[in-house]
């Protein structure tokens, strides 16, 4: 930039940018002593300083792009993850959103002091403009952290939803080498994925040669559900296990026929008991029924 004298640089934004780049080390050093950085980076002070430098660099980049008011500015991208971690760490420590916000606000003062000290020769108006620009920039930083904190909250909800899915999908060992999953409720794509993964994992764990998918508790079987069942059966087969689908209620069987759904080569049985009987027979295990005085396996 031509004709740019020390202390009286062009626009306030450029001034702030140059200041951030010049005072990077000092700002990071001061931030490292602030509660926010001290509480998050507990391993070493150097770690806090490094993190501080990254934030200063991001702020300088945002100022360079003249987007001090834009929380979506590209400059923030590189530190978004770090800021999210910092915000999350403070939330986990039991701080309210307002408390995190005020810890963030506390980062402004040390920077502002340095900036004012750097502008002894500037006109009052220019100095004020620069301080205002810095305030806006620091405010935007706060917005960025709060945004990521909120999305962290959303991520938490998503994680819990996923955990709920896993809880709702128990895999039961019925016999040596036989596992079963009783499916209850609607099977959407997310749930089917979890069912498939849990079942296949348990096939490996239990070295189960047979897996029974019981759909007695599934209210409807549309083409999507049928497709998921077929995929699970195919994946199990690739691993060396046979999957049996049981519990296809008459009403569902009717709908499936109406819809033209075909489970293809998949072995199906009316009930879980029938499926178990089939598998035991395959394994060569016979059970003697004392009442009927004969084997019930089929």
């Amino acid at each position: 930039m031509p004709e740019q004298a020390e202390g009286t640089a062009g626009s306030p934004t450029n001034e702030v940018r140059d200041f951030l780049r010049r005072r990077r080390e000092q700002i990071a050093q001061r931030w490292a002593d602030e509660p926010l950085f001290r509480a998050v980076f507990t391993v070493s002070r150097d770690e806090a300083v490094e993190a501080g430098k990254a934030v200063v660099d991001a702020l300088a980049q945002v100022a360079d792009a003249a987007r001090v008011e834009d929380p979506d500015a590209a400059g923030f991208t590189s530190v978004r993850e770090q800021l999210a971690r910092m915000g999350a760490a403070r939330s986990r420590a039991g701080l309210s959103t307002a408390q995190v916000s005020s810890e963030l606000a506390a980062l402004r003062q040390p920077v502002e002091n340095l900036l004012v000290a750097d502008l002894p020769d500037a006109s009052a108006e220019h100095a004020r403009d620069c301080v205002t620009t810095l305030s806006v920039l620091m405010g935007t930083l706060r917005v960025v952290v709060m945004q990521t904190a909120l999305s962290e909250g959303q991520a938490l909800i998503d994680r819990q939803r996923l955990q709920l899915l896993e809880v709702a999908t128990p895999v039961i060992k019925l016999w040596d080498g036989i596992v079963a999953v009783p499916l209850i409720g609607t099977l959407d794509s997310a749930r089917s994925q979890v069912v498939m993964e849990t079942l296949l994992e348990s096939i490996v764990e239990q070295q189960a040669r047979y897996a029974i998918l019981d759909i007695t508790g599934v209210p409807t079987v549309d083409s999507l559900v049928a497709q998921h069942l077929m995929k699970t059966v195919a994946a199990a087969r690739l691993m060396g296990a046979e999957c049996i689908v049981s519990g296809i209620r008459p009403a569902i069987a009717q709908t499936m026929v109406h819809l033209g759904l075909d489970l293809g080569t998949v072995v199906t049985r009316a009930s879980l008991a029938d499926a178990l009987g089939y598998v035991l027979h395959q394994l060569g295990v016979g059970i003697v029924n004392p009442v009927a005085n004969g084997p019930v396996t089929r």
């Binding site: 993190a51 590189s78 530190v79 978004r80 993850e81 770090q82 998503d158 794509s189 999507l224 497709q227």
Partner: protein, 146 residues
């Protein structure tokens, strides 16, 4: 600093050997971003299919990886570019079973089923660019939507 920025890269696809590097790089990037084991495997497999297409049909090219973050969801975008002869009939190339050499014809269509977003741009004589994106923790697309 340790961020997802480490996952951004551009790799050459010039030989069989490069396919191995592409797979290892995508595996690492996906793990770093937080993809679960199954999604990592899907993404690496899609990358392998697309990189092989780039090599075999495009006469070589590059793959770029780019970590993404959108509304708290993280993702990985892979872009495969070549300056080969291009694809005349995209519809046909994407349909299962179609192949103009080698594979089982699962390359493009198969890769498309393994990712969340799939975009292809190709003109005869002007090369092909395939861009795929997957997001952490998102359910796979049901096949109907494809």
């Amino acid at each position: 600093m340790h961020t997802a920025a480490g996952a951004q890269a551009r790799l050459p696809i010039r030989s069989d050997m490069d396919l191995v590097w592409v797979r290892q790089h995508v595996r690492q990037a996906a793990a770093q971003i937080g993809f679960g084991l199954v999604d990592q495997t899907k993404l690496v497999t899609a990358a392998s299919e697309l990189a092989r297409n780039t090599l075999v049909y495009g006469g070589g090219g590059t793959m770029e990886t780019e970590p993404l973050a959108e509304g708290g969801t993280r993702g990985l975008r892979l872009t495969f570019s070549d300056e080969g002869p291009g694809i005349a009939d995209l519809e046909q190339a994407l349909s299962d079973g179609f192949t103009s050499g080698g594979g089982l014809g699962m390359g493009l269509g198969g890769a498309r089923r393994l990712v969340h977003e799939f975009a292809i741009e190709s003109n005869p004589g002007a090369g092909t660019t395939v861009r795929v994106t997957s997001w952490v923790g998102r359910a796979p697309r049901p096949r109907e939507e494809i």
